[in-house]
């Protein structure tokens, strides 16, 4: 191939790439279901491989997974939706009561505080805090349904995403392989190492986190309903989702449960019960679930993790926090790979025998 022809081809490729990016950007409004479907099918792909190891054809594996998952989902929805709706109604109903309780408590607290620290009288602390809380909680509780509907319009959640997941589970591995094969064969080892290393770090972390989160969520729901706390379902769900955030997450569920528990029972006993429950859940999670699912750690120091999480939150919000750690781990893996490659490349040059 002549040099000019090569350059022209390269230019064409770059132009095609830019055009694709532009196209994707323009059609970004409809991209969400595709991304969600890709993510779900990525999460499910190890299951397909597991079934494939029984020498079944791929479509058989996908069908089995689809049947099992869909029936499980429908069963769960039939149990969960009535419960969630009733809890949501109860929450809206009892919220004014809680609000009154908070404001009474705050008045007492304020009087005590102002007696001991007279300077504070100048600032209207009481109203400031109350307005903040009111705005936050009202906005939060009213926005939950809107938020869910916005992410998933009913059509895309019930029809489009499951269908896309099935198709992707069925054919994505082949398209990815053919995409890898496009690269020139002298780079194949590099490409394979990049793809596989990213897959291993990212997949293991995300799957492990999700399993852990669902464990914590389900355990919280069960334990809180045994203790008899209101809204066990909502609190448990929030605790599970919050558990996706390293370090901070476990405390979110504990905090909400403590709040609701003290409002409900007005005793110290319930506080101790809740704390003990959460300690047990975290103990089980750290000692039995985590070693099983996470396997190899992501090898990031605590400072790096906190920095990654905060910067993720700054750029992308909640999803940023969840995905910050695996993305940081991927960056680290790629960096290590480059360094290793560089070392390997330069080593033989240094040890070259003199001729």
């Amino acid at each position: 191939m002549t040099e000019s022809l090569k350059n022209r081809l390269l230019l064409l490729l770059i132009l095609a790439f830019i055009a694709t990016c532009l196209f994707l950007y323009l059609s970004r409004a409809i991209l969400t279901p595709f991304i969600v479907a890709a993510f779900i099918s990525y999460l499910l792909s190890p299951l397909v491989v597991k079934l494939e190891s029984y020498c079944l054809r791929r479509w058989v594996c996908v069908t089995i997974i689809a049947v099992v998952l869909i029936s499980a989902l429908i069963g769960l929805l039939f149990i969960l939706i009535p419960l969630l709706i009733s809890e949501y109604d109860k929450l809206q109903e009892s919220f004014p009561q809680y609000y009154e309780y908070i404001s009474n408590y705050l008045i007492i607290f304020k009087n005590k505080l102002e007696n001991s620290l007279p300077i504070l009288k100048r600032y209207d602390l009481y109203n400031m805090i109350l307005i903040k809380i009111k705005g936050f909680v009202i906005l939060g509780t009213q926005k939950i349904p809107d938020y869910l509907v916005n992410i998933f319009s009913v059509f895309s959640a019930t029809v489009l995403v499951p269908m896309l997941v099935l198709f992707m589970l069925f054919g994505a591995n082949k398209s990815i392989n053919s995409l890898i094969s496009i690269f020139p064969s002298k780079h194949i080892e590099t490409i394979l190492s990049v793809v596989y290393e990213i897959d291993m770090v990212f997949g293991r972390f995300i799957r492990g986190q999700l399993i852990e989160a669902s464990f914590v969520g389900i355990m919280s729901i069960i334990c809180l309903s045994i203790i008899g706390i209101n809204f066990a379902l909502i609190i448990g769900t929030i605790a599970g989702i919050a558990n996706l955030i390293p370090y901070l997450g476990p405390f979110v569920g504990l905090f909400i449960a403590l709040l609701v528990g003290t409002f409900q029972f007005h005793t110290v006993g319930i506080v101790i019960k809740i704390i003990v429950t959460y300690a047990i859940i975290q103990f089980l999670d750290n000692n039995f679930v985590q070693p099983l699912v996470v396997g190899r750690n992501v090898n990031l120091g605590p400072v790096t993790m906190v920095f990654a999480m905060l910067s993720g939150a700054q750029i992308f919000g909640f999803l940023g926090i969840v995905f910050a750690v695996p993305v940081a781990a991927i960056i680290k893996t790629i960096f290590i790979m480059i360094v290793q490659k560089y070392k390997l490349m330069s080593a033989p040059m240094l040890n070259m025998p003199k001729e």
């Binding site: 020498c55 079944l56 058989v60 392989n177 094969s181 064969s185 596989y196 291993m200």
Partner: protein, 146 residues
């Protein structure tokens, strides 16, 4: 007849053929069928056209190559070696992070099975029996070479 139809519908025959190939390879001798399937699922298949370079000397090596069809020539300075289908090469990359010690190119149109080191090591971690068996085979292969 029905049995054959069901077999055709449900059983992955590509995987079955891969297992037959893997079974003949000395690196995987002594492994059970299920272990062979687990290995077969890690394979990345790649076709090379005639005279295409597979890898060059001094490039990083992290893949085990198994020659399924065709012919491959390994060249180191002046000596060279021709591999036929069913042979495997660069098994050293399974043990340590190293560079290729020779060039490899396809003599005919060939299909190669590539197994990435970290993936295989990962499998060893989850299934120690496979790891032990393959390491034993590797050791005996290296012992015979010396």
């Amino acid at each position: 007849m029905l049995k054959r139809l069901l077999y055709f519908l449900f059983v992955d025959d590509v995987l079955k053929k891969d297992i037959v190939l893997l079974k003949k390879i000395s690196l995987f001798s002594g492994l059970s069928k299920r272990s062979l399937i687990k290995i077969a699922l890690l394979i990345f298949k790649k076709k090379y056209v005639q005279y295409e370079k597979i890898y060059e000397e001094n490039k990083e090596a992290n893949v085990l190559y198994i020659l399924k069809d065709g012919q491959v020539r390994l060249t180191e300075k002046k000596s060279s070696k021709i591999l036929e289908s069913g042979d495997f090469f660069e098994e050293i990359s399974l043990i340590e992070n190293c560079t290729h010690k020779h060039d490899a190119s396809a003599l005919k149109d060939s299909e190669l099975y590539l197994i990435y080191r970290t993936k295989l090591l990962d499998l060893f971690e989850s299934d120690n029996k496979i790891g032990l068996e393959i390491m034993k085979n590797l050791a005996s292969i290296f012992a015979k070479k010396l």
